[in-house]
Amino acid sequence: MDTVLAIVIGGLYAAGFYSMLRRSIVKLVIGFILLSNATNLLIFTASGLTRGRPPLVIEGANALAQPHADPLPQALILTAIVIGFGVLAFILVLVHRVYQTIGTDDMDKMKGIDT
């Protein structure tokens, strides 16, 4: 399972960076989505996969039975998803604004501030 996820993560990173390097700003947004999801999966995989062992204390026991899934990475990912979602909303508005102001979605045509 780890191997499969590692390949998926690598693919997501590659696709994300490829989309970001395209000239269209809409693809920039798509690239950002892929990149943040790849990172979330990376945290999930890097901190170890444990299947079918939720971190819940069984009735009558005093402590968690080993091994159990680590709940912390999932909390981290949850936070990262929320932050990523907020940032995504902002970047969508920004891209819309770029299109309104400049009238193109081609980055090569945005040379207003180059000297």
Binding site: A46, P73, L76, I83, V98, T101, M110, I113, T115
Partner: protein, 503 residues
């Protein structure tokens, strides 16, 4: 007095919320904006005094014991940086009163400024890596909005580049955190330092270290990763440019210094040598870029990059004197840089342009402004007895002691080029006669600022005074920086403070 550690986060937060409530009432927003920044400065000074007297302070948020909950830690370095944030916030808030247009004020400029200050202070105070990521997002998202607020064409283009590069950097930082957690199983910085010191496993840790180096290298604008900075920092209003120049890259540098003195110290021969090489390249490319520019704020933006190189040099040399020099340098360069940006804003306001060839004759017209420019400019170049001289002296001395002659020669050469480009601004903007109006009919009429003159000039006077003070009375500040550096190089006190004396 644990509350003092939280106050630098709470004060800007409360100010931002309060200014949102009085959105339609600009006068109240302005009063709140300045009062909040002054309060932050006061709280930061009190915190600095407490940390200086009683050693490193830590507070466990929600009373969860150390490695499980979020810890806020104030050591001397962190407290110095928070004080700096308060100072910059205050100077820029006062300057904004005069320079910010009503449109942006109405759209919540002051609340955004304070949310950014909250993020910056949080990043300086947190003792937890994931919490650091969250603070970074707080300060980034408000800086994105500040960058784009107003919606001029150049601003929007600059903001797009700024946002994209910073988001990539955040994603890499998060990946670094994930891998580090997978290996060590903790994200508390003190716990990381403790666990890593028990079982050195440099090969595994280096991958995370490099992800951190790239992520914060983008944020701090070091050598191969700085391209977004000169393309975006000159586009927003001057007050925003100034606070970005004074604080945001410094947050990146702060995290680098924190990470590479506290827990990424397994393989100093590799990581810190790499940092030293990058430092040299950053200095050279930054200053060469600056020499080629013909617009005041673009030129100053490139200087931000070359100055980052000096701070990294202190980290790369990795000994007390060098780190003390780096900390002193951060203080010096933030103050000086903000002052220079504010002066450039006044010049743009007076003449309606920042192009060097269209300016001139300002020395004759406004001699006071010329003096206010030349003090920080000479300080940036490192002319004694101003603040930059002592900062560079410490770095060069440390370099010579460690026989790292290449970086010393680079640092000195770059100082010379810095002087050259400062003289270039001086000659073009202040010294040469004003170009005849007929050549540049397009430029706007100069705006008279008699009424708001004092608001424009008082923050610059304050910062210029500090630049002189840091030079003439360098000793107490340098002692403070040395103590901060000693704390950085000996993490045991930091770990002890976070765990309340347990491990």
């Amino acid at each position: 007095m644990k509350l003092l550690i939280v106050l630098p986060i709470l004060i800007p937060f409360a100010t931002a919320i309060a200014s949102l409530f009085v959105r339609r009432w600009i006068l109240a927003q302005r009063i709140l904006g300045v009062a909040g920044a002054a309060g932050l400065l006061g709280a930061a000074l009190a915190l600095l005094k407490m940390v200086e007297g009683d050693g490193i302070q830590a507070v466990q948020i929600g009373n969860w014991p150390a490695p499980y909950g979020i810890t806020l830690v104030a050591d001397l370095f962190g407290a110095i940086m928070v004080t700096l944030a308060g100072l910059m916030g205050f100077a820029v808030a006062v300057y904004s009163l005069a320079s910010m247009d009503a449109q942006r004020e109405k759209f919540g400029y002051y609340s955004l400024l304070h949310i950014m200050l909250m993020g910056v202070c949080g990043a300086f105070l947190t003792g937890d890596l994931f919490n650091l990521y969250v603070w970074f997002e707080v300060l980034l998202i408000s800086s994105f909005v500040l960058m784009a607020l107003g919606g001029e064409r150049a601003q929007i283009e600059g903001a797009l580049k700024y946002v994209t590069l910073n988001l990539i950097s955040s994603a890499l930082f998060l990946a670094g955190i994930g891998i580090l957690y997978g290996k060590i199983g903790t994200l508390n910085m003190a716990d990381l330092a403790y666990k890593l010191s028990l079982e050195p496993q440099s090969n595994l840790i280096n991958s995370s270290a490099m992800l951190f180096l790239i992520a914060f290298g983008i944020k701090a604008a070091i050598f191969p990763l700085f391209f977004w900075l000169p393309d975006s920092y000159h586009t927003p209003p001057v007050a925003v440019s100034a606070i970005f120049a004074g604080l945001l890259t410094k947050v990146g540098v702060y995290v680098m210094i924190r990470a590479f003195t506290l827990f990424f110290v397994q393989d100093v021969g590799f990581t810190h040598t790499l940092i030293l090489v990058l430092a040299g390249l950053t200095m050279v490319t930054g200053v060469l870029g600056a020499v080629a520019q013909n617009e005041m704020r673009r030129l100053l933006s490139f200087h931000i990059i070359s100055q980052i190189g000096y701070i990294l040099m202190g980290l790369g040399l990795f000994r007390v004197l060098a780190l003390a020099g780096a900390i002193f340098f951060i203080l010096h360069v933030s103050i000086v840089k903000v002052a220079l940006f504010l002066v450039s804003g006044v010049v743009e306001r007076l003449r309606g342009t920042g192009q060097l060839k269209e300016l001139g004759g300002l020395y004759r017209a406004y001699p006071c402004l010329a003096v206010l420019f030349i003090i920080p400019a000479m300080s940036l170049a490192g002319i004694p007895p101003l603040s930059g001289f002592f900062a560079k002296l410490a770095l060069v001395k440390a370099g010579l002691e460690m026989e790292q002659y290449a970086i010393v020669i680079t640092a000195l050469g770059v100082s010379l080029l810095t002087l050259f480009s400062m003289i270039k601004i001086w000659g073009e903007v202040f010294w040469k006669p004003e170009p005849t109006k007929s050549e540049y009919i397009g430029s706007e009429q100069p705006q008279i600022l008699k009424k708001s003159q004092i608001l424009f000039l008082s923050p610059i006077v304050l910062l210029a005074f500090l630049a002189v003070l840091f030079g003439l009375a360098a000793e107490p500040f340098f002692t403070l920086a040395t103590r901060a550096a000693e704390q950085l190089l000996d993490p045991s006190e930091y770990i002890h403070a976070v765990f309340g004396g347990k491990p």
